[in-house]
């Protein structure tokens, strides 16, 4: 009996489903008339809430790039930091005093002009709330050190020199105090109000009635945006954010035209089907988002270098990248995105080599490392890719005699567990995305022992030489002076093999073919709507 016949007979009633799936793949489906020519239906995820000073993650980047503006902004691919609200800035040679000069004539959504006082308010608010985006600033900036020199000049006086300061400036949105202040309750800086409302100057204005957390968000064009709309004669006038939870729904919605774009995490296995359709295609973009298998360096056998090297040689990097990810990622053997500065040219990572892994295994055993101990690898259950990687790792480890168990877990538990070395799992899997474009975002916060207790530093790696190098690089201003410091640190870290660095991501986004003019940048990942035009 030939294969397809068997399938058809056995599948019985389900053939209907298969047949439909087949026609969908063939692209003979009707187009839903869900969207009109000026409404863009976006499948990007929504942040936990709308306050850019409370939340700072990839979905927030996508939201705030449209609703708010920043002093400087990352644009293009590879990312460049360009003047935005500010037209220029100066910095003293010691790197302590920064002055930003605002453009004139900037208007908020309520029509009021933006002044340096508003920038001061925004930074003070961000520091006072002390939430996610404040992480880069809390230690180096006091609220009173942000001042307005004149209506268009803001001055920042840092406590200590901090090179990533400028790189982190685009993470702070400028908010409108005149809209927030009337809604302040018991000194909360308008926190609960701004969580569901907008008070910005961005290209699009939030429609509060069209917002339900994580479900939908409606925005409409702000015609008076300071950059104007001359560059885009036919902009998107209404932006409807409709995040879809299930991959299958997401793909179907893209294929029937009820979504203009998906988020950036399309599984590689969906690419062919989408590209075969008449109305949509998959856009591939390199970003700075690295995939890491963490090892808890305080727990035996991971406190042994040979044991760690054994594990590092037992992961099928290219099999994972080529077969499971369909080649949509680059092998990145460094503790940093391979497209960022600071990586030593001579560095060589580890390869998949079970023979070498066995040798290291023997060496580790000889040094008394308990290689027979069953170890656990925690994955984020809801993330299929991490689960597959873990299973792949497991079947290879089994071949060299290591008993590894995959444990499903969730992000909030994992980050909580990572707060202490003894609760941190033996191994776990996560990505590090671009919060700001600087080595500090990756190697700096991952391997400087002062960050122990945060999930980024959950390898609990401690090397005084590396600490010194990273701290020096943090307070050195010029990039050309910092680069060798990072290179040296990375060399030492890689020699110690504290974690298993797997790949740097390629983002896959499904787009309707009517979407034109999209501009991609690793920060925001193509979600900035002001550039987009809808065809037809």
């Amino acid at each position: 009996m030939s294969g397809p016949v068997l399938g058809r007979r056995k599948a019985g009633a389900l053939v209907a489903g298969a047949a439909i799936a087949g026609t969908v793949a063939a692209g003979t489906l009707r187009t839903a008339s869900a969207a009109d020519a000026s409404t863009f239906v976006s499948g990007f995820g929504l942040p936990a809430n709308l306050d850019p000073h409370q939340v700072y993650d990839v979905p927030m980047q996508a939201m705030m790039l449209n609703a708010y503006d920043n002093l400087y902004r990352y644009q293009n691919d590879p990312p460049q930091i360009v003047p935005w609200l500010a037209e220029s800035h100066t910095v003293t040679p010691d790197g302590l005093v920064w002055e930003f000069k605002l453009r004139s004539g900037i208007k908020f959504h309520d029509g009021s002009p933006m002044t340096s006082e508003d920038v001061v308010y925004s930074f003070r608010r961000m520091l006072a709330l002390g939430l996610a985006p404040a992480g880069a600033f809390l230690k180096i900036l006091k609220p009173e050190s942000v001042t307005a020199v004149d209506p268009l000049t803001v001055r920042f006086k840092l406590e200590t020199a901090y090179a990533p300061f400028f790189a982190a400036i685009p993470s702070i949105s400028i908010v409108n105090p005149r809209m927030i202040e009337p809604n302040v309750k018991s000194g909360d800086w308008g926190k609960s109000w701004l969580a569901s409302n907008g008070a910005g100057s961005g290209s699009y204005r939030i429609v509060p009635a069209g917002y339900r957390p994580l479900e939908y968000l409606d925005m409409e064009i702000f015609d008076d945006h300071f950059m104007g709309w001359a560059h885009n004669p036919k902009p998107v006038r209404k932006l409807a954010c409709r995040p879809t939870r299930e991959t299958s729904t997401r793909v179907l919605a893209l294929l029937n035209g009820s979504l203009d774009c998906t988020d950036n995490n399309l599984p590689a296995d969906q690419v062919a089907q989408i590209n075969a359709s008449k109305i949509a295609y998959v856009q591939k973009d390199m970003v700075m988002r690295i995939f890491i298998i963490r090892m808890n360096n305080t727990k035996p056998p991971f406190d042994n270098l040979n044991a760690r090297l054994c594990f590092a040689h037992a992961f099928n990097y290219m099999g994972f990248i080529n077969d499971i990810l369909g080649g949509y990622a680059t092998r990145d053997p460094y503790p940093m995105p391979d497209n960022l500065w600071g990586i030593p040219k001579d560095a060589k990572g580890y390869d998949y080599d079970l023979k070498k892994a066995k040798e290291y295994y023997a060496k580790a055993v000889a040094q008394g490392a308990p290689m027979k101990r069953p170890v656990e690898l925690h994955v984020q259950s809801e993330n299929e890719q991490s689960v597959q990687g873990a299973q792949l790792f497991q079947s290879d480890l089994a071949q060299i005699g290591i008993n590894m168990k995959v444990v499903g877990n969730i992000w909030s538990n994992l980050t909580a567990a990572a707060a202490k070395p003894d609760t941190t799992p033996d191994m776990w899997v996560h990505w590090v995305s671009t919060y700001f474009v600087d080595p500090e975002n990756w190697v700096g916060q991952m391997y400087d022992s002062q960050f122990h207790g945060t999930w980024k530093a959950s390898a609990y790696y401690k090397n005084p030489e590396v600490d010194t190098l990273l701290r020096k690089a943090r307070t050195t201003i010029k990039q050309e002076d910092r680069e060798p410091l990072y290179q040296e640190a990375i060399r030492k870290i890689m020699a110690d093999s504290p974690d298993i660095w797997v790949y740097n991501s390629m983002q896959l986004q499904g787009l309707n073919k009517r979407v034109k003019g999209r501009r991609f940048c690793t920060v925001g990942q193509g979600a900035e709507m002001r550039w987009i035009t809808l065809d037809g």
Partner: protein, 336 residues
């Protein structure tokens, strides 16, 4: 009757208190750190410690519980660690969506399930009965998500009759919020385009969600009808020449649905929590997806509130069910 309702309502309170206590303790032992959840991914340990004190998370557990119960009594359900919005506001926004979905699913279950159950009962151990039994069990056993995707493929993709996801088309202007129920608000605003659009969005999720309930109702109605058909009065009524249809659909049915009605009460609580999968696949902005989000992010206030909410809905529905029982069977009302 009023006394009966009041008595039942007062009896519910200790149960809800017990429910709250159990959930509170249960959620307390979950390892995820609410302060860490509040602080966000990029937070430093100092930020987290500050939040811990701010939210009283460093206090003894009984003190936290007492504070919480005091707040609940004034309908303050706290603030979501995730959205940082008042939980009561989030729930008020989302509950109508879930209730609408649940109600429609239940209506489908009842209006399809009861007749099918009666037919199965009337044809006991003949082919229609066998078929209906197998199909009703299929309804319970089929994985909702698989069925949902098949519906999407057929009705949204191939035929293009019904929308794929969501509560309303993105191009539709939302009607002003009055009741929170999209369909009702659309009618109040006189927006018939929104009304039909919202109804069309309801169909697929409601049908998917109705499956399990449909099967349950078929089974219990069948059993009830079988039971009633054994009663002497059915023979008497036939002997007296009752019209066949009226005999079955009025006189037999009313005696047969007691157990079915009880099941509807049990189903309702289940549907609200069980809508999770359906809400996920159809991106339905209700309580189910909210609950999963809360669990995935360790959002304790929301988990507590949702448990309390489902418990309350469960209790209220069961009081209603008792009332319906009383209306169906006068003997029960007298006993109560």
């Amino acid at each position: 009757m009023l006394r009966f309702v009041l008595r039942r309502c007062i009896l519910v309170l200790p149960s809800l208190f017990g429910l709250l206590l159990v959930t509170f303790l249960l959620i307390r032992v979950v390892p995820s750190d609410p302060a860490m959840a509040l602080a966000g991914d990029a937070a430093t340990p100092e930020q987290i410690e500050r939040l811990r004190q701010q939210y009283g998370l460093d206090r003894p557990i009984w003190e936290q519980f007492a504070v919480y119960v005091g707040k609940v009594a004034t309908l303050d359900l706290g603030e979501s660690a995730f959205s940082r919005r008042p939980v009561a506001v989030d729930i008020a926004q989302r509950l109508p969506a879930t209730l609408a979905l649940t109600f429609c699913a239940l209506a489908i279950s009842v209006f399809v399930g009861v007749p099918l159950g009666v037919i199965a009962g009337l044809t006991h151990n003949a082919w229609p009965d066998y078929l209906l039994r197998v199909f009703s069990v299929l309804g319970i056993a089929v994985a909702a998500f698989w069925f949902a995707i098949m519906l999407q493929l057929l009705f949204s993709m191939e035929l293009g009759w019904l929308p794929l996801r969501g509560e309303l088309s993105p191009t539709m202007q939302r009607p002003p919020r009055v009741t929170g129920f999209m369909v009702v608000d659309a009618l109040i605003a006189g927006r018939f385009d929104v009304f039909t659009d919202a109804l069309r969005h309801l169909v697929l999720p409601a049908v998917t969600l109705s499956l399990g309930g449909l099967a349950t109702i078929v089974r219990f109605t069948r059993a009830g009808v079988l039971d009633t058909l054994q009663q002497d009065f059915v023979f008497y009524e036939r002997a007296m020449g009752y019209r066949r249809r009226r005999l079955v659909w009025i006189y037999v049915l009313r005696n047969s649905v007691t157990a079915t009605v009880t099941q509807i009460g049990l189903l309702f609580g289940g549907l609200i929590a069980g809508g999770v999968v359906v809400e996920a696949i159809f991106d339905w902005p209700g309580i189910g997806s909210y609950t999963v989000q809360a669990i995935l992010t360790g959002d304790r206030q929301v988990m507590l509130a949702v448990t309390l909410l489902v418990g309350t809905v469960y209790a209220v529905v069961n009081i209603l069910i008792d009332l319906v029982h009383g209306l169906l069977d006068p003997r029960l009302m007298e006993r109560a």
